[in-house]
Amino acid sequence: MLKFPIYLDYSATTPVDPRVAAKMIPWLTEHFGNPASRSHAYGWEAEQAVEEAREQVAALVNADPKEIIWTSGATESNNLAIKGAAHFYQGKGKHVITVKTEHKAVLDTVRELEREGFEATYLDVQENGLIDLEVLKAAIRPDTILVSVMFVNNEVGVVQPIAQIGELCREKGIIFHVDAAQATGKVEIDLDKLKVDLMSFSAHKTYGPKGVGALYVRRKPRVRLEAQMHGGGHERGLRSGTLATHQIVGMGEAFRLAREDMAEENARVRRLRNKLLSGLTDIEATYVNGDLEQRVPHNLNISFAYVEGESLIMAIKDIAVSSGSACTSASLEPSYVLRALGRNDELAHSSIRFSIGRFTTEEEIDFTIDLLHKKIGKLRELSPLWEMYKDGIDLDTVQWAAH
């Protein structure tokens, strides 16, 4: 039984796993104490639940629980890591390096640092979406104090060479931050091996609830941060604010399940994604965005040439996906990630991100393949550009008359 629209937008958010919900609800209802209340059992038991969840998050990434700080989500973790580290270490230098394809939570935070007087380098990526280590090396200066590179890109799913970047940064004494919001439960993360100093985590990308995330802050060697949220001194002074027990319990359980289920789930998801890939790439004039090898199995981002983006999105209403356009109040802008991969505006606008997950079925994949074939076919029938392409006209040589 298909439920419409079919959800293929797991990278935007994931449903809360029923097992996670079951674990969370008692902490929302009967066991409602404030974990900072030291005077009674309601508080003590809440605190204990929070510490257990901390261990579960640490276990997924092979970290020490003491290195896990609770936040309200990966956006806040990114802000805390980047501003916190930059402010703390600004005596050593004021240059920061990141990548053009980072999430806005990183890019806008780095821009904020620039407004404060820091200097920033935004690295280009190759056509496959991966950074070139030589380009990073060349960008490093004596006054570079922080590098921020995401583990897995949210739009195209590519996996950056975090291990090598870590080695490079450690060698140069530069703090290395990684936004791992899209990575947990999809790739192995071993912080005992990876030379990463700060890592951001999100719960709602890994079948946990919204409103909670975490920041890994390395203790060996010790990384220091300037706190961004001040108050009662929670989280060893790094992040004040009453902890939401039920959300934290949910994140812990979600990460525990991710650890247990990852290998099997990845295999299943890869099979489904590859079926979708072959089913769609046999449509003419389609382009996969981002490297297919260095990529999580959950993501497929494809541009469909000679099809107008908005019409495409409207035509495939039966599936819930994400397009290569972002709404601003004034206009529809092409995805900056796809532009960084070298796609022109038209191809960026007519791209679709399919992101599948734990609850995706083969039936849903089959329906999707069918739907895209039908709709792309119809839209192209109506497209004069498609006609010209079929007639062998090189559209790049056409002189378009102005209207």
């Binding site: 937008d9 404030n34 900072a36 030291r38 005077s39 709602h204 919204k210 939401a244």
Partner: protein, 387 residues
């Protein structure tokens, strides 16, 4: 928990109201149909999430007499306080900031940060009852503060400040006034417009809503630099995927709390007054008794009885109370509020807070008073034996 103590710590946090829980469950995947969209997604799942947030925003706004566009959702009260103080200051040249001497740490600490960043920080003194000292307030106004923050209701003593009057005078002196109203909403009347403040902090879990959601109610004339940058949610003032479940709960909790406020505050103040009469009979000092306070709060101390000890005994006897506020109960320091009121530190160390709520019954209060008498008597006997 095998036994459930009677919960008398409603100022620390509150259990979820049943209708709030029911509204939240689908958004947590715990009831069908499960809802989970990212509100920024353009498809139906996203649109549902967006609609739920809009509805909740309207409820929060209506509950405090503000416009929906004046409500900025945050992860809680602490964050809203941080957002106002640091966010407003970031758009201004360093000037003078004034806060009352009895603010919660999540106002005090950001204020200290601003001082480190070059702001002059003034603390407005309170009198022996915990009310803003008028003479000191006038003195502070003469220093031409740009920003002022005074809490509407104190979490420990329950004392209420005449924020409307303060806001009026602050405005004439060219200052913006912010009030932390997290303890007030649902217990007393709170109207953003009538208060005349430029900013107000609210927290869901203080009024039968969930942990993880709060709001800064903000006059749109106040320029604010966001603390959390990113995808541009909350009109750019607070980025991050919206916590739909918590926001939905927050909206409903505000609506509920305001609807029941009048009847509830009567009911609670009768019980609270009963506790105070008993406390007086037992020889306890009740802090701020003469001041206008929240209807549910009583902050007291017994001579020569340590507050932590008393609270521990009460917990074992089946009653959950607090000594000092939850946030700072990790450090065994006397209440900051009491010290600001001029209470002797030795007396302050005896402080215990009992705060009542929606589920508190007269029968529970009777049992509490009886238990308290026994516990106090036993502790006094122990003390006299020890001499």
């Amino acid at each position: 928990m095998s036994f459930a103590p009677v919960y008398l710590d409603w100022n620390a946090t509150t259990p979820l109201a049943p209708e709030v829980r029911d509204a939240m469950l689908p958004w947590l995947g715990a009831a069908q149909p499960a809802r989970f969209g990212n509100a920024s997604s353009r498809h139906e799942y996203g649109r549902q999430a967006r609609a739920a947030i809009d509805e909740a925003r309207a409820r929060v706004a209506a509950a405090v007499g503000a416009h929906a566009t004046e409500v900025v959702f945050t992860s809680g009260g602490s964050e809203a306080n941080n957002l106002f103080l640091k966010g407003a200051a970031a758009c201004l040249k360093p000037g003078t900031l004034a806060i009352s001497a009895i603010e919660h740490p999540c106002v005090r600490e950001p204020a200290r940060q601003l001082r480190r960043a070059g702001w002059a920080l003034h603390e407005i003194a309170v009198d022996a009852d915990g009310r803003i000292d008028v003479a000191d307030w006038r003195r502070v106004l003469e220093a031409r503060p740009t920003l002022v923050s005074v809490m509407l209701a104190n979490n420990e003593t329950g004392v209420l400040q005449d924020v409307a009057a303060l806001a009026s005078e602050a405005r004439k002196a060219g200052a913006w006034l912010h009030t932390d109203a997290v303890q007030a909403l649902g217990k007393i009347e709170v109207d953003f417009r009538s208060l005349g403040v430029q900013a107000m902090t609210l927290s869901a879990h203080k009024l039968g809503g969930p942990l993880g959601a709060g709001a800064l109610v903000l006059d749109k004339r106040v320029e604010l630099s966001p603390l959390i940058a990113g995808g541009g949610q909350e009109r750019g003032l607070r980025s991050g995927t919206e916590n739909v479940a918590a926001i939905v709960g927050f909206g409903l909790a505000c609506e509920r709390a305001v609807a029941h406020r009048a009847a509830e505050s009567s009911r609670l103040s009768v019980m609270r007054d009963g506790i105070e009469a008993a406390l007086s009979a037992l020889g306890a000092v009740v802090f701020s008794r003469a001041a206008i306070r929240l209807p549910n709060t009583v902050f007291f101390a017994f001579d020569a009885i340590d507050g932590e000890t008393l609270v521990g005994k009460l917990d074992r006897a089946g009653f959950a109370c607090a000594s000092g506020s939850a946030c700072s109960s990790a450090q065994p320091e006397p209440s900051h509020t009491l010290l600001a009121m001029g209470v002797d530190p030795t007396v302050a160390r005896g402080a215990v807070r009992v705060s009542l709520g929606r589920d508190t019954t007269a029968e529970e209060v009777e049992r509490f008073v009886a238990t308290l008498s026994h516990v106090v008597r036993d502790l006094r006997n122990l003390a006299s034996v020890a001499l």
